[in-house]
């Protein structure tokens, strides 16, 4: 076991003292950490794979808390409609990282609510097709875009089976320091990577979900809440037929 992982554990224990904990499901505890942000000084390792479990039975109809939290955390709410753009077209052009989807079973009529975002595949099609390598998977499992070498060809958007990516269609006047953003590049959910790199262990959507429908954590740590929950409850991958081994899983679909 690497040194950094050991220290990560220690950090976790230290923080767990100040954490408030919530019962997600019987036996599954969700920690909301008030982390003392300490930026990383060592490279991320493949000892960790970040992942998420979304319990669709808890995802409430009409609730937009996670979407709004994501928009705020990642500066998506700062992306203004350009002057003269049509409202209707702009809605289809503005970036989204997370979205609610409501499903109806064709046979039984059962309704399901869930949220979709980048599924952080182990074998991401967007990474395969990117001509420059801008679309990449970090060793800790986060799929993201290196905007410095993204040329804006949108081939990754063609390749993504989850429609998870957005192209920035206009200049962005206001940016957050931790989430740079500019016209002409593609982006998508990055599991709030700035939080993780600064020592936090939660995503904005997870923190915002008052129904505890989102559990986030390290899939490689058998003791993490997400690993425990995945072990305990049956879960599925969306488009499992593609064998992408997604980092985001769902229960009760």
């Amino acid at each position: 076991m690497s040194k950094s992982n050991d220290s990560g554990r220690r950090d976790f224990l230290k923080k767990a003292v100040v954490a408030s904990s919530v019962t997600v499901a019987p036996g599954v505890i969700l920690h909301t950490l008030q982390a003392q942000a300490e930026p990383r000084t060592t490279p991320v390792t493949d000892k960790v794979r970040w992942g998420m479990l979304i319990d669709t039975s808890k995802c409430a109809e009409g609730c937009k808390d996670c979407v709004e939290a994501c928009n705020k955390e990642n500066g998506l709410d700062l992306v203004d409609k350009p002057e003269g753009a049509s409202e209707e077209l702009w809605e289809r052009q503005r970036p989204h990282w997370i979205r609610q989807v409501k499903l109806k079973d064709n046979m039984t009529g059962m309704l399901t609510n869930l949220v979709m975002m980048c599924q952080h595949c182990e074998h991401p099609p967007c990474v395969d097709v990117c001509p420059t390598g801008a679309s990449f998977k970090r060793v800790d499992g986060i799929v993201m875009v290196d905007r410095h070498i993204c040329i804006g060809c949108r081939y990754c958007m063609m390749a993504c089976p989850y429609k998870a990516r957005s192209f920035i269609h206009a200049d962005v006047a206001a940016k957050l320091t931790h989430t740079p953003r500019g016209k002409g590049c593609v982006e998508s959910c990055n599991f709030c990577v700035h939080r993780l790199d600064n020592g936090q262990t939660t995503t904005a959507c997870q923190d915002a979900c008052k129904h505890q429908a989102i559990v986030f954590g390290d899939l490689k740590d058998p003791e993490s809440p997400v690993s425990k929950a995945l072990k305990k409850y049956p879960s599925v991958q969306i488009r499992a037929d593609l064998k992408l081994n997604t980092g985001v899983r769902y229960t009760n679909i």
């Binding site: 410095h148 320091t177 931790h178 590049c185």
Partner: protein, 124 residues
């Protein structure tokens, strides 16, 4: 840093918006953190010659390896070098006559950091 004090151009910041709504006024000299320091994260001469190498190196480390704590980050540059206007609002570092712009304008070097990156110190 020494070279900076000689640059006191009154900047008209028409286009520089902060968080979309607040536009900063004229920068006040001595209001940047860097104004009160003797030298940058490396000796001034080194910074002048190689700052872009540092930033580029840090950029790849940050994006691909998650190392955000380095002293060579662009966010660090902005945090330290952005001045404030009379009302205490930060003035973008790339605004006319401000830290980044003054040199880059003189050297006629156009770079693209701020079409994506924030030009004022971050929320933290």
């Amino acid at each position: 840093m020494t070279g900076k004090s000689s640059i006191t151009l009154p900047a008209i910041l028409v286009s520089s918006l902060w968080l979309g709504t607040v536009s900063a006024g004229e920068a006040v000299e001595g209001t940047a953190k860097a104004d009160k320091l003797k030298s940058c994260v490396e000796p001034t001469e080194v910074m002048r010659r190689d700052h872009f190498e540092f930033i580029k190196h840090q950029r790849d480390l940050a994006v691909h390896q998650g190392i955000r704590g380095s002293k060579h980050s662009l966010a660090g540059c902005v945090d330290c070098h952005a001045r404030k206007d009379a009302e205490g609002k930060p003035v973008p570092v790339n605004a006319e006559g401000q830290f980044c712009d003054s040199c880059h304008d003189y050297a006629a070097v156009h770079i693209d950091c701020f079409s994506c990156h924030s030009t004022v110190p971050g929320e933290k």
